[in-house]
């Protein structure tokens, strides 16, 4: 079945189209006039991490500072948060590990990606300057987020265990853990604010890649030109 035929069928019969739905189980293929960016398993892993992150966030913030104390009400009080936070943290760590394994092979930083490590490179990206035709499926910023999230999750888990069971550790390690847990969480949350903004308001069409799994060809050509070329060349011609 040609792409054009798929596309037409999709338009007539809507989302339930079986062939398109089947195509959306595979990544980096053209389906229904769009490109599948994230298959179902990718999306399930992403949203598991995201939901557990927010569970940790909203149970942790009221413990962190009384300014957010009102959030505890949604869980049944601060004592529930104190119980729920470490367990949801363990679940978050497990989901983060799944995410790490799932995306690891895509996330090696290559030459051009390292520009994102410099403040200048990051600023150019946010000013929509320095468009790079060689950006593959993930740009340097996304890879950076991946590694920062993996390191952050590890730091939060290790320091969290010390805070959870302080009696097993010495005074110095306990104090260090409070500082590490706080620092990791502040950086993580600030990063996630940027991640959500870029994934929704700043770059229209991106959010769909994590919901239905697909992006438009125009979107792919703009944000990930090399990936677009690879997908369309390997798959069916546009």
């Amino acid at each position: 079945m040609s792409d054009a035929a798929l596309s037409g069928q999709s338009a007539r019969t809507g989302v339930g189209d079986l062939a398109v739905a089947r195509a959306r189980q595979t990544e980096d293929v053209v389906a229904g006039g769009e490109i599948v960016r994230h298959k179902l398993s990718s999306r399930v892993i992403h949203w598991s991490v995201a939901v557990l992150f927010f569970l940790c966030l909203f149970t942790g913030l009221p413990v962190w500072t009384p300014i957010f104390g009102w959030m505890a009400t949604f869980f049944g009080g601060l004592a529930v948060c104190r119980w729920l936070h470490p367990w949801s943290g363990v679940a978050f760590a497990v989901a983060s590990l799944a995410m790490f394994v799932h995306w690891f092979s895509d996330m090696h930083l290559t030459g051009k990606d390292r520009e994102f490590l410099t403040p200048g490179g990051m600023i150019r990206y946010f000013r929509y300057q320095g468009e790079d035709p060689e950006v593959g499926k993930y740009n340097g910023g996304q890879k950076l987020l991946f590694w920062a999230a993996a390191l952050g999750a590890l730091g939060l888990l290790l320091s969290g265990i010390v805070i959870w069971f302080p009696e097993l550790f010495g005074q110095g390690l306990r104090e260090l853990s409070y500082v590490v847990h706080d620092l990791a969480f502040i950086l993580f949350f600030a990063m996630i604010i940027g991640h959500i903004y870029l994934g929704t308001a700043a770059e229209p069409g991106t959010f769909g890649s994590m919901v239905r799994g697909t992006v438009t060809k125009d979107w792919a050509r703009l944000h990930h030109p090399r990936w677009y070329r690879e997908v369309t060349r390997n798959g069916r011609p546009p």
Binding site: G8, W64, F126, Y128, F185, F189, A202, P204
Partner: protein
């Protein structure tokens, strides 16, 4: 909280502070003279009885000490220590110390506590715990420079000496002071207790203990449990930290990281809003190519 009638000077996890400051309330203090303690443990029993604490099995630790350390159900422990050193009485000192909450003016437990109102300091200096508000997170254990607060797995709450605030607020001395047979414990305003300590220290100095001193550590703003030490130059012989203060990690976490974090979140949020208003969304240019839903064959 045992003393709802007392005015609160500061409370754990308070946002705007809570001191009423309307009345001038004298700071109280317990006076402990380690040099006249005979280790009879009447204070331990009185504490258990008055506070109606559960029985904790004793443990043989090789000395006359009742158990190795304080417990969530044992708030007052006479510590026995043998020190080999060159002291005025020879080369050996047999030291007793009443281990309990020191009721710091700058309490590390209160600083570390994330539960609003779980640890409060009254205007009279007593640091009290409110089990109803306690969430059992054990952070006070890390915040305390004297290793005093104890977590109970049975209740999922922390517990420590309250300086018998329920007795103090009706004009009685703490139970341990009431029970002490040698008069090495006294209770009153801190000024009075310091005066008493000064005269006792003077006496000790004249009796061959030139290093006698009062343990009222300034690092935690002074304490409402002041201790006369015959070997005042060596508080560590008694198991007391030489220069206690609220742990650096706890202070950095509460005083620096927390406000910085809140500001960082606000900054990240407004940076995104500013970015959207300045640069707007990055939309794909219309290429005329069909996208999903628009396609027709």
């Amino acid at each position: 909280m045992n003393a709802p009638g007392l005015e609160i000077r500061q409370s754990s996890a308070g946002v705007w502070g809570s001191s009423s400051g309307q009345r001038k309330v004298p700071v109280v203090s317990k006076y402990i003279d380690t040099s006249t303690c005979i280790g009879c443990k009447a204070c331990e029993v009185a504490c258990q009885e008055w506070n109606d604490l559960q029985i904790v099995p004793t443990a043989q630790v090789g000395t006359y000490q009742t158990m190795p350390r304080l417990d969530a159900n044992y708030w007052n422990l006479i510590q026995f220590r043998e020190v080999e050193a060159n002291v005025p009485s020879g080369d050996f000192a047999w030291l007793l110390r009443k281990d309990q909450c020191m009721h710091c003016a700058d309490p590390g437990c209160l600083k570390a506590c994330p539960a609003p109102g779980a640890i409060v300091q009254y205007e009279n200096g007593i640091v009290d715990v409110n089990p109803d508000a306690c969430i059992g997170c054990k952070m006070c254990e890390t915040g305390c420079p004297f290793d005093v607060p104890r977590y109970s797995a049975r209740t999922d709450k922390m517990a420590k000496c309250t300086l018998c605030v329920d007795r103090v607020q009706v004009g009685l001395e703490p139970a341990c002071v009431k029970a002490c047979p040698t008069g090495c414990l006294h209770f009153g305003t801190k000024d009075d207790m310091k005066e008493l300590a000064a005269s006792r220290i003077d006496q000790l100095k004249r009796s061959g203990f030139p290093q006698a001193d009062l343990y009222d550590p300034p690092g935690v703003g002074g304490t409402s449990v002041i201790t006369v030490l015959a070997h005042g130059d060596h508080p560590e012989w008694y198991g007391l930290p030489k220069d206690p203060h609220v742990p650096t990690g706890v202070r950095f976490w509460k005083n620096v990281l927390r406000p910085v974090g809140v500001i960082a979140f606000a900054a990240a949020f407004f940076a995104m809003v500013g970015h959207y208003l300045t640069y707007g969304p990055k939309k794909p240019k219309e290429s005329g190519e069909k996208s999903r839903g628009e396609g027709t064959v």
